[in-house]
Amino acid sequence: MKFSKRTTAAAAAAGAALLLTGCAGGGGNAAQDGVTTINYWSWDGAPGRDIVEAVIEACEAEHPDIKVNYTELAQTDYKPKAAQSLGAGEEIDVLTVQPGSWAMEVEDYLLPVSDWSNGDLVGKFGEQSITQAERNFTDGLLSAVPVYSTGSAVGVYNADILAELGLEAPTTWDEFKALSDALAAQGKGILPVTMPADDWFQDEMALTFVGQEDPEFFNSVRYDDGSWDSDAYVTGLSNYAAMFENGTFDAATLDMDYTTAMTAFDEGKSAVVFNGSWEAGRILTGNYGVIPVPAETADKASLRAFLDVMLGIPAESTKQEAAATFIDCMSTGAGVDPWATALKGIPAVSDYELPEGTLTTELQQQSYDTLVELISNPASDRNNLGAFSDHVGANVKQVLFGTMTPEEAAKDAQAEFERGTF
């Protein structure tokens, strides 16, 4: 088959045009009309689509030369999908980095903050936040900036239920027992407490009780050569189990998944719900307050806290400057208010104050102060180890069900820790 010169020229021109448009479309590198479009990836709880859209709106208004495309993945899928997408060369310009072992897993894909066009923004964050952020990366090389911190476990209580019983918010074991007894006497079937029975959260609860015994316990096993098989762990776990044994907590919560536990509280079927501080935004939606997990004495109450969300820039991104500008906006600028006012976490940026009118009642103000106090002064870092938390949490539940002793659980946790699978 033969082609005329004209046909060949036309085909060559069409091919060249296709190639050029293909490059422009695929790369998306060049700013169009002076606007740079960046791709931002996160998971559904960090801080969630509705809030992110408000953040984007605020940041786009402040930086009209930046447009943000947001991709949200389910939290359960985020770690494998985001890591694999980075490896596959997906165009991601801003990445939410989950603190913990995953941050170290993806650090090779990230641009060190010192290489960002606005790398000096590090100075805008509190010292504790930067220290915690550095702990997530090899040799402390900061590869993402902190956004906010959360803590766990903490309680949200229904003030109306307590008021009906004539009780104050319980902060000690005895006060909580009094609440449980009063609810039982009332006979309305309201549970004293609900909480997720998921293994990871039962690990959080147990460690909160352990932190009341030895605030340094978790940091010592996480960062130093501390042992799970210790008196502090056994005592803390025993104290937690005792709450179920003596009827302070109802074992009916131990088969509730996350949603069921929260829904039961929202529907007034429980007086208190334990969860992470990321659920504390509820205090803005009803007559709810925040309390720490009860301790033997109120002054022992504590939780573990850590950064919950960090933002990084993939080294492969071709729009690093725009990405850095957006991150600055979301973590220290106009993009802070949307998530901070939803009480998603305590901002890492220094000297942040909630806008006037965010907290409208004394109870809300008191609760927020409690949160800030607890998260700013944690017993240990909440720097969990993925599947290991599930393993330890499964043991915690066995102790609560009476099929394992706290001593056995402590020994097994240490053995699992040493096994080398984590």
Binding site: K79, E105, A251, D255, A387, A394, Q398, F401, R419
Partner: protein
Amino acid sequence: MTTDTRTRKRRRRSDWLVALVFLAPLLAIYAVYYLYSIVFLGQTSMQRIGISLLRPVQVGFENFALLATDPVFLGSIVNNLVFAAASIVVALTIAFFIAVALSTGVRGRKLFYLVFLLPALMPLSLVATIFGSMLQERFGILNETLRAVGLGDLAQSWLTTPGLAYTAVILVFCYLIGLPIMYYTADLSALPTSALEAALLDGAGTFRIMTQVIYPMMRTTHITVILALLLGAFRGLEQVLFSTGGGPGDTTEIVGTYVYGYVNSGGKTIGYAAAASIVVLLIGLVISLAQMFATRTKRSAR
């Protein structure tokens, strides 16, 4: 060499070529999606590596050694076998009976087919989630119903008592009997009617025809059902993940949930999960070989 022999050889070569052309796309897909995956899995199982697949550390057979000493992993294999065994028993009895009963032309059989097949066609995650929520101690519909009809004493902690949780997972596995019913229904239509007619003429009753004529005649279907359920059990995940989550403790853990936990860990656990997957793959291979052996056509029978 005679002309005939040469022609036959040429034709055979030509047949091979045609076969190869037709098979090429499938072989290419197989090479990309199966062989590569298996090689990748084998390679990863010898490494300490995370989900980003960066900075692998070669550890030889260490992951397999760790697996071999993990009672949870070994327990999860046993659980898989037990859950498979329970579903096989139900398939070989109840599913067979249902399939035969429906094949007799009973009124409303299309509705019954729908009732039995629907669970097998629905997403397993949905079925398991509904089961899980139904069995919750405080707000589950089962206990709520028991309390409502004055049988509150029978209300149990279905998901947190080891024996009950185990039974609950078995029920979820057995609930999905739609697949064996389909197998039996398809093969029943191919049964030679002469044997059934002879049995009828000899005065055999319905139950006797079912158990002593049809049942033995469906030997190959039984084997297919057994091996399909056995293999299916090792591929299971949602049945447990969304009902008991493998708990209480590790009571209902299966290999699917075990591997899933390590894949989603976020740490350097992908090599370990790959090693566990290789073990499961080998178990599946053994089962498949058993299937090939059991369903092979004997030379003498050809």
